[in-house]
């Protein structure tokens, strides 16, 4: 059977070309994305950023440890308590580093304040001027010259300082104060930097603080969380794209192979008549698939890793991948995995086609028709209807029961794709009426060609469907997914605006928070009700075993002994909750009330319980009876010079709606790109593989007297009708899907505008039309008018 398989492949290589491309692409994608995953998951963390040159760093206790029956449960603390002063006394020659908020009012970069003696640890040298001599002098790393007098915003407020010198810039640029002024601005010692041997330091410190050496010093880097996020994002995006690549490869290869086997129907029947058992037929099909797959997978898994650097660069440019990784991993497992996946995909995809081929009855070698008669076998009906019902039920459940989840990409994307997949599966059933509808005007008006096209499109539903289905997918996928993404972004922004009904927000602009002086000035604005929000965390012990950190905000209206929790924490109003605050203090708070749905945090506590952080924003409501414009003007005056911005509700909605750089949207674009590549392959492949069938018809037409122009017009019109049917079906599916989403979003955010990206849709439809017309014209050019006997397929 292998000889037979190879002989068939040699003769009919055009039929297998599409499968080859799909498999090679799939393997290449697996190899490239696998390489990206290997790089981002396996690369070591960045070296310590804050203290690269200090060998031993002592920090305060930064973990919360709670004894449970399973042993001590430990989690990192949200807010560190700092090094106790008594401990600092035990290490007299250690440098006390204090890191606190300090920015220049007139500049726009993010800086922190530090004492001058921490300068060597921060890796910054004096470039101009001199060290600060008095407490009113500072050294900056940019934005001013020595001798200038500048306004500096710290936690307490704004004060004027004289610039004594300029230091070299660093990743975490600092404003250096004298040690004394730094101690006054921020009494808490954040770290003790020492150059003594680690063992000696550990002996002196004991258990009151942590001693960090080597890679442990990274714990203090401010970028740790964003680094971890970047790594996670890259892993997630690569992983999702990988999954989709494999899935769509299977689908395209299965469809292509089924088509090819259908075309060889008669040949297979002849083999059966000559004495091939069903098992031998199946093995022959597997052999064909394996030969093609081996070649394709080899090509793909060798070429794929070369694309990995480009992928990584693309992700890094959008801040979705760790940017300190400069060398792509040289591990070889992605290539091997890609090869194995290629073979596995091919075999899986070919399963149904092989089974159906083995069921061909030998008597069909005597029949004239070249394709089995039924365009919609029972299995396709079942699968299509099942998918449709599942999608519709999911949409209904989301709309009725849980509309909030409609704004989450991970929820609605699969439902939309299920709906589109159902439409693709059921397409052959609706192709005939749609084609009839589309061609009715041409039947009368188009002359001979019009009549032929109308008849062909409606009678050979299978052929029209074979072309219309890839077009349906190519148009519906971007139209539905991109529009849905835009709709949910708008809805999320509007919902966010609804759940925070403050008229104005005051937010910091590049500083760690709003300073105390600013908060007082805001409160002094007449006609404004101001609440400042401090972001913090609380820890609860769930089920007596697990410590969970929950985001909490400090709200002035909450008393010191109370807490406002989410309803699903499991407590009733009035119950007492045992919890730990952000700095690890254990306390018990009374549940005051529950949070409303859609709140951005998990609990409200009093500002004192929220800890030492600066307010991250201020909510300002205009008191009834006051003039909103006057209040806004007063707010802006109060915020001037404090590195803060006043944002109105309208500004917020507009900003949120245009913020499109999220990891999930990038993942969506990548997946869309992969899907569209495959549907294009399917489209081109269907046209190429269907050409021999159409060649017979066109031969007949020319023998009957149609000239070359008429035959060409017929070919083009036939393709255009199929594309038109595909576009109509795509519009129907997209309309259904988006209406469902619109209904669900109605309850969350009110009516959301249907913002279809017509440019993208137009471009995609145009591309389909172009392929569907140019390709048959090219193929038509190359076929001769005379033909040999009917045995040359």
């Amino acid at each position: 059977m292998l000889t037979l398989a190879v002989a068939t492949l040699r003769l009919r290589w055009r039929s297998f070309a599409g499968m080859f491309v799909a498999l090679a692409l799939g393997s290449a994608l697996v190899a490239a994305l696998g390489q990206v995953l290997a790089t981002t998951a396996g690369a070591p963390d960045r070296g310590p950023q804050r203290y690269p040159d200090v060998p031993v760093v002592v920090v305060g206790v930064d973990e919360l440890s709670v004894p449970t029956w399973r042993g001590p449960e430990t989690v990192p603390l949200a807010q560190s308590r700092g090094v106790p002063a008594a401990l600092a006394a035990r290490l007299p020659d250690a440098v006390a580093d204090r890191v606190f908020p300090a920015t220049l009012a007139a500049a726009s970069d993010r800086t922190v304040g530090r004492p001058w003696s921490a300068r060597p640890a921060a890796g910054q040298r004096l470039v101009a001027g001199r060290a600060p001599a008095t407490d009113d002098e500072i050294v900056v790393s940019g934005g001013a010259r020595p001798g200038e007098r500048v306004q500096v915003v710290t936690a307490a407020g704004v004060r004027a300082y004289t610039v004594a010198g300029v230091s070299s810039p660093a990743r975490e640029s600092s404003v250096f104060f004298t040690d004394a002024r730094a101690a006054k601005l921020s009494p808490r010692i954040d770290a003790l930097l020492t150059w003594r041997p680690a063992a000696e330091v550990r002996a002196a410190v004991g258990a009151d603080a942590r001693v960090l050496v080597g890679a442990e010093r990274s714990r203090l880097d401010p970028n740790r969380e964003s680094d971890a996020d970047a790594r996670n994002n890259a892993n997630t995006i690569a992983g999702i794209a990988l999954g989709f690549a494999i899935f769509i490869s299977i689908a395209v290869v299965a469809a292509t192979f089924a088509f090819a086997v259908g075309q060889r129907h008669r040949e297979i029947a002849l083999l059966r008549a000559a004495g091939a058992t069903p098992g031998q037929i199946r093995r022959m099909i597997y052999a064909e698939a394996l030969v093609v797959a081996t070649l394709a997978a080899t090509v793909g898994s060798v070429a794929g890793p070369y694309a990995a650097p480009a992928f990584l660069d693309w992700l890094t440019a959008r801040h979705m991948a760790p940017d300190w990784i400069d060398a792509v991993s040289d591990s070889t497992w992605p290539a091997y995995l890609a090869f194995a996946t290629g073979l596995f995909v091919a075999l899986l995809a070919v399963l149904t086609a092989a089974w159906r081929a083995s069921r061909v009855r030998p008597v069909e070698a005597l029949r004239e028709s070249s394709m089995p008669a039924r365009p919609m076998p029972l299995s396709r009906w079942l699968l299509g209807l099942g998918t449709l019902v599942t999608a519709l039920v999911c949409m209904a459940v989301i709309a009725v029961d849980d509309p909030d989840s409609a704004t989450n990409r991970k929820t609605y994307m699969p439902v939309l794709m299920l709906l589109i997949a159902a439409a693709a599966l059921l397409a052959p059933a609706v192709v005939r009426p749609t084609a009839k509808l589309l061609t009715r005007p041409f039947e009368r008006m188009g002359g001979a060609v019009g009549m032929l096209v109308a008849a062909a499109a409606t009678s050979s539903a299978r052929r029209t469907a074979a072309l219309a289905t890839p077009v349906l997918l190519t148009v519906a996928l971007p139209a539905a997914l991109l529009t849905a993404s835009a709709m949910t972004d708008t809805a999320k922004a509007a919902a966010g605006a609804r759940s925070m009904p403050a008229d104005y927000l005051v937010v910091p602009d590049g500083t760690a928070g709003l300073d105390a002086e600013l908060a007082a000035r805001l409160r002094a604005v007449p006609g404004a009700d101001v609440s400042t929000i401090v972001e913090s965390s609380v820890y609860t012990l769930e089920g007596e075993t697990v410590l969970i950190q929950r985001p909490a905000e400090g709200l002035p209206s909450v008393p010191d002994d109370a807490i406002v929790t989410e309803a699903d924490w499991g407590y009733d109003v009035g119950d007492t909750v045992r919890l730990w605050l952000a700095d690890g203090t254990e306390t018990r708070l009374r549940v005051l009330r529950f949070l409303p749905a859609g709140a951005a945090t998990a609990a409200y506590v009093s500002p004192r319980n929220a800890g030492a952080g600066l307010p991250s924003r201020a909510l300002v409501d205009v008191r009834p009876g006051s003039d909103p414009e006057a209040v806004e003007a007063a707010l802006r005056r109060a915020a001037a010079g404090h590195r803060a911005t006043v944002v109105s509700k309208a500004d917020r909605v507009a900003a949120a709606a245009t913020g499109r750089a999220g990891a999930s949207r990038l993942g969506l674009l990548m997946v869309l790109g992969i899907l569209l590549t495959y549907t294009t392959i399917a489209l081109v492949n269907t046209l190429v593989m269907g050409a021999p069938d159409r060649a017979g018809e066109r031969r007949t037409m020319r023998l009957l007297g149609a000239d070359r122009g008429q035959v060409l017009r017929y070919a083009l019109a036939e393709s255009l009708v199929a594309v038109g049917v595909g576009v109509i079906l795509a519009a129907a599916v997209t309309g259904t899907a988006l209406s469902g989403l619109w209904v669900a979003l109605l309850r969350v955010a009110g009516p959301v505008p249907l913002d279809v990206s017509w440019t993208v849709v137009g471009a995609v439809v145009g591309a389909c039309v172009l392929i569907a017309t140019v390709l048959p014209a090219l193929l038509e050019r190359s076929s001769p008018i005379a033909s040999d006997s009917a045995s040359a397929p």
């Binding site: 000559a274 030998p362 045995s791």
Partner: protein, 243 residues
């Protein structure tokens, strides 16, 4: 020498799902070493008769016995094994696998059975039909008549119990058709091969030892040692009666 029936149909009826009854209670036997032609107006069921006799189709009722085996009792796999060894086919068109050369096509049934026939034997079969020089050509490079002859070479090599031919000369010109019929006749005379041929061409049927006539799914007479004229007269009578 007593003649032994190699294929026997007994009260075979074939009713299709569309309601059409192609054969009604047909009982006929084909003896070893005989050349039988089956004729009839179109729609008479002659192709269906051939398909049932060859095991390509299953009768609705009745029994078919071939080379001592009851075909109607066999499963698909055993039927396939039987087809490899004991049944040969020559169709009107599409006889050969387009991807294989002539000699690969000739050897195909034996290869499917897991045996490798010797190159010399394959060449000899091709030579017997006059195509030894075209052994390495694919069907796309052969004319219709040449393809039929390759199919006959395949039957020669396999030496089956019966060769079933369905309109073997239908698509051929007179000369090629004569060549094919000559070969079939030689197979019967020289190798005691049994041949059952369905045809509508009286001239082709004249090569046979016996001609069976079929009308509306029933046997309607036969002529032994036929001549072309006798056949044509009988056919004309049948067709007149059918109107």
């Amino acid at each position: 020498m007593p003649s032994v029936p190699v294929v026997e149909l007994s009260e075979v009826t074939r009713r299709f799902a569309t309601g059409v009854t192609a054969l009604t209670g047909v009982s006929v036997a084909f003896d070893t070493g005989s050349f039988t032609a089956v004729m009839g107006p179109s729609g008479s069921g002659k192709s269906t008769l051939l398909q049932c006799a060859a095991g390509l189709d299953r009768p609705t009722s009745g029994r078919v016995t071939l080379a001592g085996q009851e075909l109607t009792a066999l499963g698909e796999r055993r039927l396939t094994l039987l087809r490899r060894e004991r049944i040969g086919f020559v169709f009107q068109s599409f006889n050969l696998m387009p991807a294989l050369t002539a000699e690969q096509n000739v050897a195909l049934p034996l290869r499917l059975a897991g045996r490798r026939p010797r190159r010399s034997e394959v060449r000899a079969s091709l030579a017997a039909v006059g195509l030894a020089d075209r052994a390495g050509h694919r069907p796309g490079e052969l004319s219709g008549g040449q393809q039929q002859r390759v199919a006959i070479a395949r039957a020669l090599l396999t030496a089956p119990a019966v060769v079933f031919a369905d309109e073997p000369t239908g698509a051929l010109d007179r000369n090629s058709g004569e060549q094919v019929l000559r070969l079939l006749r030689d197979m019967v005379d020289q190798r005691r091969q049994t041949v059952v041929m369905v045809t509508h061409d009286a001239h082709a049927a004249a090569y046979a030892d016996r001609v069976l006539f079929l009308t509306d799914g029933r046997i309607d007479g036969q002529i032994v040692a036929p001549t072309a004229e006798a056949i044509m007269i009988h056919m004309a009578r049948l067709e007149a009666a059918a109107c």
